[in-house]
Subunit: 396 residues, 2 copies
């Protein structure tokens, strides 16, 4: 009886509301924010009142972090105090020194975001993070600071442990990006490489209400602790449709092998309905500004891989324009991210965890904003099954 | 310049959309589902085509679980096969036998949902759960089965470890609810108590698009693994505005102490703007059907605490009608949950983890549904800060 079903569905559309959102909530404004925005049509995104690309090109990661947490870029004095506040927060808590090796070897093979998710969950538990609902703003901010400072230590330690090496203790004198490479390799990095990584990290701190950021805000809206929210966000980021592509873009370059293979390879992939890794974005309908920035960073570092990537980019854009006209598929953040990280000595396994490190700062800024003016996020769904209640049959 | 700001805000409303949702997404239909629904005005909720209360009153937990996963209640044969499929999935994987004690003592004091979040994250990692995007439906269903079967073992083991006891291995012959009490205490429970807990567990398996269920679906929408989604959902459930109240309702009964204190205590609480634990619900504008069911279950078990709770309920409803007329604040699921669980010998610390155990079945059913017809959940936000781009000041 389709008519009855329709009536029931309409009736049961959760509280009589008829306010149906498009699938995936695309274009649905679910909150206001002072942290920044993405203008997909213009190819522009910003942190607070500044162009994110300009911040990445001209300031330090610590400055960008300060900007997101405080709304202004720091003065020289504020920057110095900020650095001093962060440095001691990087050290692993004692409980984790014992647990981390066991977590690193929990899986049959190392899956860095699964290990990070587990390790951060244990860390925030061991540090007794409290429900955000019960905290004063400065107490929650202290947990956010600690989390942002600890995640690079956790991911690099887990990686080293998975490779059979001892973790490297954070270097108290090095800023975030240089310390990141230091903890990864055990050696103080070339400043040029540290600066390239820093630009990558700054450019990926925040990017609108993507799925992981939204996850962090939904969890925070229940009054849960900041650890629960970041752990959930890491889970969302681990999804291949969200954060999983930078290494796959590089894998594609490897698969293509050399420039003359590019066109047939890509035509074949498009004909078989395969996704071309590192191209296209739900929000950007023009060049992804992060891609333009990272292409410049990659160009400065130079090298064979950059030259090859440049050629592949041109070929893919050309072929896609011809085979999928009007779609305007351009490189997204992932395409040159891989090239930059690879040039800086970051292993492929660590591409997404490196992204997770900087994005943790964005998640935490969103958690602080959500907690400061909270309402439980609890949407509705429309039931489309057979009309209830039907009599429950007796258990035979 | 407020005018400029308004223009910029309008302009930057993420992709020119003007589709603003109410805060907290209240009443916004974000998906279709065949799993069930909540009719707040009618005080009715259902699993698939059946009244959830009727399922709880007449069937086993395994039947309800089968219903949510398969869309139909099982025949006798299907029920037997189902029981047989579940039993071996309850055993802890080897990697967790080592890790669990370390996780149980990671915190200064035991916070069961933080411990569960960490333990489940480690468990699914050790079992090599794969991105849902890369799995066939039956592979994802197998992970869901394993997760639902393992969570009771994890929470009861963590609790026992935190109390200095060894975990109790799952009892292969006992069904879900009886085995739950068995793993908690080490003794085969009185069937009457097992049945009371079973009704509680069935009644809390699913309940619309609450925050934790929505979190599980958002994370799944990225193609992440089922472990990431359930871990995120546990985080959301740990928020005091979502799953944190059953023990607090009982704490309130303790604080009131005896019937003659009830009226002054409640008047005083309302006058001081305190929340009365166990009353009121965002969706139900009449009696919460779960509360009516659990009141009956508590009545069958009887006892002093039930009698006391009954009196407190009457007094609270009376006082609230007088002091907040028209608000129709009635007991929600949490009020009698605590009484029932307490009567069955479940310690207060374990109230929310017990809820998490049954709700895991609901989350997993939603994850399967989301993965079967997926689109990345990525909403937008409206920027309301100062208009960008402002020139980035030079670092001093």
């Amino acid at each position: 009886m389709p008519e009855t079903k329709t009536q029931q569905s309409g009736n049961s559309g959760s509280d009589g509301s008829e306010n149906d959102a498009p699938k995936g909530l695309e274009g649905v404004v679910v909150a206001t924010t002072e942290l920044g925005d993405v203008r997909g049509e213009e190819g522009f995104y910003h942190y607070r009142q500044y162009s994110a690309v300009e911040v990445a090109a001209t300031r330090t990661l610590e400055d960008a972090w300060y900007l997101l947490f405080h709304g202004e870029l720091p003065t020289k004095t504020q920057h110095a105090e900020w650095i001093e506040e962060i440095a001691p927060l990087r050290d692993l808590p004692d409980a984790m020194v014992e647990l981390l090796p066991a977590i690193a070897r929990a899986g049959d093979h190392f899956i860095p975001l699964d290990a990070l998710r587990t390790a951060l969950s244990a860390t925030t538990y061991s540090l007794d993070y409290r429900p955000s609902l019960d905290l004063e703003p400065d107490e929650l901010r202290a947990e956010a600071m600690r989390t942002c400072a600890l995640v690079p230590t956790l991911v690099t330690s887990l990686y080293r442990l998975s490779e059979g090496h001892e973790p490297v203790t954070p270097h108290p004198e090095l800023p975030y990006a240089a310390n990141y490479l230091y903890m990864l390799t055990g050696e103080e990095p070339d400043p040029k490489l540290a600066r390239a990584v820093e630009k990558y990290l700054i450019s990926t701190i925040d990017h609108g209400f993507n799925s992981s950021t939204f996850t962090a805000r939904v969890i925070t809206s229940t009054g849960a602790d900041l650890g629960a929210a970041v752990v959930g966000a890491i889970g969302a980021l681990s999804g291949p449709l969200h954060g999983g592509a930078p290494s796959r873009a590089l894998d594609m370059l490897d698969a293509i092998g050399e420039p003359r293979n590019a066109e047939p390879w890509i035509r074949n992939a498009v004909e078989h309905g395969q996704r071309i890794m590192g191209f296209g974005h739900r929000v950007y309908k023009t060049d992804d500004p992060r891609s333009l920035l990272l292409r410049d960073v990659a160009a400065e570092l130079g090298g064979e891989q950059y030259e090859f990537a440049r050629k592949i980019e041109d070929t893919v854009v050309e072929v896609l324009e011809e085979m999928k006209p009007g779609r305007k598929l351009r490189t997204n953040v992932e395409f040159y991210s891989g090239v930059v990280m690879n040039s800086c000595g970051i292993p492929r396994t660590m591409f997404t965890p490196t992204f997770a490190s900087s994005r943790t700062i964005g998640w935490c800024a969103h958690i602080l904003e959500q907690a400061a003016d909270n309402r439980l996020i609890r949407p509705s769904a429309r039931y489309i099954g057979p009309p209830p209640p039907q009599p429950v049959p007796d258990a035979e």
